[in-house]
Symmetry: C2
Subunit: 312 residues, 2 copies
């Protein structure tokens, strides 16, 4: 099995109450691939960088087994740059964007290498919905299309986004985006409305409140890992989606049980990544530590047997 991890490969500068980090490795394709490669041994990155992207970042990805044939280098432009500031309650993940320089992303035209066209799982990071569709056109017969988006596209390109959603199997968005996309303040109603737009499966991420998963069989709720010190929430969402995609890529069947497991592994990986700046915590996690963290989610939410216990 194989995963196509599509998105940005970027520089991030972040300011948090714990300190600042300047021009560190970031981008949705980066987090998607660094997370999914813990489970899948065939992770194919699709992205674009500029002339200023350091070799050491390329090496960092290559050393971790990520196929970089689809990483384009645009010598005429700068790498995508995002600068943001987080507020006191990092667990919520609310942030102000201080600066965005599109650079190479302005002309990003991801023509897939021939060797990528047979990818089994496509993980589409947040991008222009038109570009997301262009990628999908080039994949022969994906078994699962997982997709992220953001408020910017909901506000500025809703029609195009809805065309993309029609081709998506599993949408992964946050609660604000779900409410905005559906116009429904109630999350359960919002989920039904979003699923009616195409995605059979929907994950709504809720930051410090965990995540909800919706499919034809109902709802699955996963808590957030209890953390006192969230250092940098950047990339948590892409890490979650990458973990989910990677876990499913490694399974024989796309059962509901496996999706639930994948959601737990995605949650576990994202609970690691927010412990430090950028993708640092995601670089060399021992497998046993990931399993232990995933099992902590089980202990956290395990409800004992319920037998009738009523007054006479």
């Amino acid at each position: 099995m194989s995963i196509l991890a599509v998105g940005t490969t970027a520089f991030d500068s972040v300011e948090t109450p714990f300190g600042n980090a300047e021009r560190i490795l970031g981008g949705s394709a980066t987090y998607l691939s660094l997370a999914s490669r813990y489970f899948s041994d065939d992770v194919r990155l699709v992205g674009v960088v500029g002339h200023d992207f350091p070799d050491e970042y390329v090496e960092l990805l290559r050393e971790r087994g990520i196929d970089l044939e689809g990483l384009e280098v645009d010598e005429d432009r700068e790498t995508f740059f995002w600068k943001g500031r987080y507020h006191d309650n990092l667990s919520i993940g609310e942030r102000d964007t201080l600066e965005t320089r599109l650079g190479v992303v302005e002309t990003f035209d991801p023509a897939l290498p021939e060797s990528y066209r047979d990818s089994d799982i496509v993980a589409l990071g947040n991008l222009d919905p038109e570009i997301q569709r262009y990628v999908l056109q080039q994949v022969e017969a994906p078994e699962l299309v997982i997709c992220d988006t953001m408020n910017f596209w909901i506000e500025s390109a809703l029609e195009s986004l809805r065309e993309t959603l029609d081709q998506v199997d599993c949408l992964v968005i946050n609660d604000t985006e779900a409410r905005q996309l559906s116009g429904e303040p109630n999350l359960i109603a919002a989920a039904a409305a979003v699923r009616a737009m195409g995605p059979e499966r929907l994950v709504i991420k809720k930051g410090e409140h965990g995540a909800l998963y919706f499919d034809d069989e109902g709802v699955f709720s996963v808590p957030a890992y209890p953390m006192e010190n969230v250092h940098d929430p950047t990339g948590a969402g892409d890490t979650f989606a990458g973990g989910l995609a990677g876990f499913l890529d490694a399974q024989k069947a796309l059962t509901r049980e496996n999706v639930k497991r994948g959601i737990v592994y995605g949650s576990a990986l994202s609970s690691f990544v927010i412990e430090d700046f950028g993708p640092d915590r995601l670089l060399d996690l021992p497998n046993e530590e990931i399993l232990e963290r995933a099992r902590a989610f089980r202990r956290l939410s395990e409800i004992p047997d319920l037998e009738p216990a009523y007054s006479a």
Copy 2:
């Protein structure tokens, strides 16, 4: 075993997007006792009403087996009255208080009947912390003291509240109150700070995001029941605490497993009560329906076995 349900017995007027209800039965002691009596057959209400409190409301409580020896009638004053308006997203439970008439509560001086002094579990609804302590002084040897409070006391009577907290075993508050009481924006840090004030056990209610329970052994997370149509969130918190208290009253031992079960039953009962105005849904629930709802919480949050599944 027996439960002392202490709080207000009141009139509520509520405005929601689904309609209005005028001067319906409300109050923390009402919800606490109506919920706990599903599990305990010895529920003792402590409250006060005015000359305007209708006999039919008294009968409604009596018919459901609630001991009303501790329900004082103050013929000189009016029953406590609260009027509030909920906003579009009822699942959040945010509301504006439009009117409060203290009436009988201004001079509420709950001297317990002799027969109440041996109560096993004390459930203290939101009241002046000084009155909460006055009640506790009169109970001989409670096995468990469960307590609620609100932002008003945190802001206006913090010292007195902290004296009360020192005598509380299990505090049940919402996330805003936990952050305010502790001064910590992160909920996990807030929980540690609040527990350091006295309560060994702490439940933080998060409305549409469920609840978190903290004790010496760690954290337990329970989801919210997925509901598209919340009609009236009034009383949900007291119903939760009443269900928890009632379930524990019916158990032989105060184990962590039983606390977790009690939290699930409390969540189940509060998911019913918000389906309709006031306590209507809480009046005649079949036991099987409660058990079925509680088991739905298990299915909602059940994580399958997690075995290692990594790339080579």
